[in-house]
Amino acid sequence: MKRKVLAIDDSRTMRGMLSAALTAAGFDVDLAEDGIEGLEALDRSRPDLVITDINMPRLDGFGLIEGARQRENCTGLPILVLSTESGESMKQRARQAGATGWIVKPFDEEKLVQVINRLIA
């Protein structure tokens, strides 16, 4: 069965890139445009992994992670932050919210896939 990755980013370009890279790597990709949509997607079905942006309208990445961690069906769900931010304080917040990892944009397609494979293969 194909592994499903939920990618959340308010940038259409970024969603496009993630979708292209992950689909090519054989994942099922679900996309959401902000934290709210991301949580809605999580409620619909549990993906195998979540990649989320931080700066998003309506509900940001921290909010999404906190929301996901409160959901019973999301226990043990790896959530990676994909952000241009690389400040320690931001990472700290993500950690506290319950992020599994932090990837700095721009991402290298091959490496991203490798990381995901390691997490959920």
Partner: protein, 724 residues
């Protein structure tokens, strides 16, 4: 990648558009917290995307810009007029940088250093007390992975004389709950050197299930690191599980290690159990993932669709070519519907009744379909208007004036081609408005006006057309000066009787420029005549009105679409022609008495004491050599933009209808007097008459048009002769 980069640039355009809109809101005082947030996100998204495409100039500028926006967002920096002005400049700069990338693929434009400096100064001025976060420095190497899953470069091999590490890693339950996987972290360490792993299972079954309690397995790791691996590298691996585990790292010299290490001895004393997984914990994600998902009921999926639709603008991006193909096809459909209708009109009465219903339904449907498809091409003028705000700012700055653009009705939708082709004429008009229309600040104050001049752009729909007005609150047109210039340039005879409107319209005459010295602003070698030509080529009209001391207003009237035209079908020498109703004022059946014949082929119509030149369409277009008896013809009175009138004589009027425009230039050539063609209901092709070329009032020798041997020769409004 090209598709993605196209997507990126499109998104950039939208984000920049939003950015300028937000700035406008701040300027007008209607902004709230979310305004600044969205600005920050826009610049942030641009930075992220630009990074992905390696557009370093954009990235570094966006970064500086973003920092200051973040200061505003976090209320460290208050927004005042200077900040807004700086932000406007910054968004312009960002636009330029991105535009440069668009054309080159590689950033050619360099960021304005002064602007970068100003932004940086602003940023550091409010962050002086804050210790800079080193990590904030952006370095866009592809992928810095702070994950504890960092993929180390191929091993450099074990380094001699380096310290070795004893690592104790005791995950808490919360670590598993956050989706971490000790095995992955350990595998990452494996890439850093020679690693031996031991699992301490002595506490299995004893710990509580509190999330903060240590899980049952404690890992003891011994790492003989490769060159370049130090304690901080190892700590980085565990960065994301900080607080979720107990981590002890101890070092020992390689040399020392050759002897027996106490730690190791301690380790070897542990029960030698194979690494095991905790059924309740590590297996949890697996189990959940494997749980069959409930079948999606229809209800669910429709809810899904609804959710998707709600939050964002529900738009799709379609290649323009596809839309145009669709529009063409719908045009064909409309034509064949008309053909069908025509051929049905001759059949028997009984048969017709049943067919009639179906026919009228088909007609209605194809009409609706056509409208719907046309609407696809429609776009709000917002983007166009926002581009203009920049023109106002730049022109005002260069001209040493203070000006602000006010836009009204920017959600009005216009055909995409129209908005695109309006950019240049509108830019020129705006430059004129700011440069010539608005007074200098001192003059404004002296006239009791606010120092800042306002330029207003307004769009609206009116009776099937789009009306765009551009008004300024400047001094109005200096008519004596305009007249003097026109006289000096031989555009009018000295002392000629001219109404105010006549004088205002002189601005549109070729070769007219009010600027005594050509400034590099509005006078870029093109006059308002070029503006008018461009608008006319879009099937539009432009007019000007002005009140001294109060301001000038220009009105552009445009068709909603360039694909259909409302026209009157006429017959000339047995040929069907279409005259656009746009220019049509009235139709007349002339009594002989109203016609004056000056010489053999020069005729005029007398109406309300005015003499209106008459041209015979048949001879003007070369269908016949000799004029027909006017009394057997019908006259179409047409009016030009400047109010000039002419009468066109045709043999017969058929009816008035919407016709689908089929361009000729692409497949054939540009024909003077003819703007395009269409296919009529009977399948015949009819040429569409270019009425603008029928006026002769402004051309002294224009009566030649009606006696010329045909379309080999024509005159534009100014009477300049063109040979084809």
């Amino acid at each position: 990648m090209s598709e993605l980069s196209e997507m990126f640039f499109q998104e950039c355009d939208e984000l920049l558009e939003g950015l300028v809109k937000s700035l406008g809101e701040i300027e007008s005082g209607s902004a709230d917290d979310e305004t600044v947030n969205s600005m920050f996100r826009a610049v942030h998204s641009i930075k992220g995307g630009a990074g992905a495409f390696g557009l370093t100039a954009v990235v570094s500028f966006a970064h500086v810009f973003e920092n200051v926006l973040d200061d505003v967002r976090s209320k460290k920096l208050a927004i005042d007029d200077n900040v807004v002005a700086l932000f406007f400049m910054a968004s312009d700069q960002l636009t330029d940088l991105i535009d440069a990338c668009k054309s080159d693929g590689e950033a050619a434009a360099e960021a304005n250093e002064k602007l970068v400096e100003e932004l940086s100064d602003l940023h550091s001025s409010v962050n002086r007390d804050v210790a800079p976060e080193l990590e904030e420095e952006i370095s866009f190497q592809p992928m810095a992975l702070d994950l504890g899953l960092d993929l180390a470069e191929p091993n450099a091999g074990p380094a001699e004389g380096q310290k070795e590490f004893e690592i104790t890693f005791a995950p808490r339950l919360a670590l598993y709950e956050a989706g971490h996987e000790p095995a992955l972290l350990i595998r990452t360490l494996q890439d850093m050197g020679e690693l031996s792993v031991t699992a301490d299972l002595s506490s299995v079954g004893t710990a509580s299930l509190d999330a903060n309690a240590e899980a049952w397995i404690v890992w003891h790791l011994h790492l003989k690191p490769d060159a370049g691996v130090d304690e901080s590298t190892i700590r980085e691996v565990f960065e994301f599980v900080e607080g979720l585990c107990r981590l002890d790292i101890e070092t020992s010299d390689t040399a020392a290690f050759s002897g027996a290490l106490p730690d190791m001895e301690a380790l070897s004393g542990l029960p030698d159990l194979p690494p095991a997984v905790l059924p309740g914990l590590e297996a949890a994600p697996e189990a959940a993932a494997e749980t069959p998902q409930p079948p999606q009921s229809e209800l669910q999926s429709s809810a899904q669709i609804k959710k998707k639709a709600a939050p964002v603008n529900n738009t799709i991006r379609v290649d323009l070519e596809r839309v145009d193909r669709l529009i063409n096809l719908v045009g064909e459909l409309v034509i064949s519907e008309a053909m069908l209708r025509q051929s049905m009109s001759g059949t028997d009465h009984e048969r017709r009744n049943s067919v009639d219903d179906a026919m009228s339904q088909l007609r209605q449907l194809s009409g609706m379909l056509q409208e719907g498809v046309m609407a696809i091409r429609a776009q709000p003028v917002r983007g166009l208007f926002q581009r203009m705000s920049r023109i106002v700012r730049e022109t005002a700055k260069e001209a040493g004036k203070s000006a602000q653009l006010v836009t009204i009705g920017d959600s009005t939708e216009v055909d995409k081609t129209v908005t695109e082709r309006l950019v240049e004429p509108l830019t020129h008009m705006i430059r004129n408005a700011v440069d010539h229309g608005l007074e200098a600040p001192e003059a404004r104050l002296a006239a009791g006006k606010p120092e800042k001049g306002f330029v207003t752009l307004e769009a609206m729909h009116r009776s099937g057309r789009v009306i765009i007005t551009l008004s300024d609150d400047g001094a109005g047109i200096n008519r004596p000066k305009v007249r003097a210039i026109a006289e000096s340039k031989d555009l009018v005879r000295p002392g000629e009787d001219l109404s105010d409107a006549d004088i205002d319209n002189l601005l549109f005459r070729p070769g007219f420029s009010t600027a005594t010295e050509v400034s590099n602003l509005s006078g870029r070698g093109v006059g308002m005549d070029v503006v008018r030509n461009e608008i006319q080529s879009l099937g539009g009209r432009v007019s000007i009105s002005s009140t001294p001391g109060v301001g000038t207003k220009m009105t552009i009237s445009l068709p909603l679409t360039l694909a259909v035209l409302e026209g009157m079908v006429v017959i000339v020498e047995g040929e069907a022609l279409v005259v656009p109703t746009l220019a049509l004022r009235e139709t007349l059946q002339p009594g002989q008495a109203q016609i004056h014949e000056f010489c053999e082929n020069d005729r005029a119509l007398s109406i309300n004491g005015q003499l209106i030149p008459v041209s015979d369409l048949g001879s003007a277009l070369g269908y016949r050599k000799h004029l027909t008896d006017l009394s057997k013809q019908v006259l179409l009175m047409i009016e030009g933009d400047a109010g000039q009138r002419a009468a066109i004589a045709v043999d017969k009027i058929v009816d008035q209808r919407e016709v689908v425009i089929k361009g000729l230039e692409q497949n054939y050539m540009s024909i003077p007097g003819i703007s395009a063609a269409t296919i009529l209901g009977d399948g015949n092709i009819a040429l569409i008459v270019d009425t603008d070329q029928m006026f002769s009032t402004q051309a002294p020798e224009a009566s030649e048009l009606s006696v010329s041997s045909g379309p080999r020769r024509h005159y534009d409004n100014a009477g300049t002769e063109h040979h084809v």
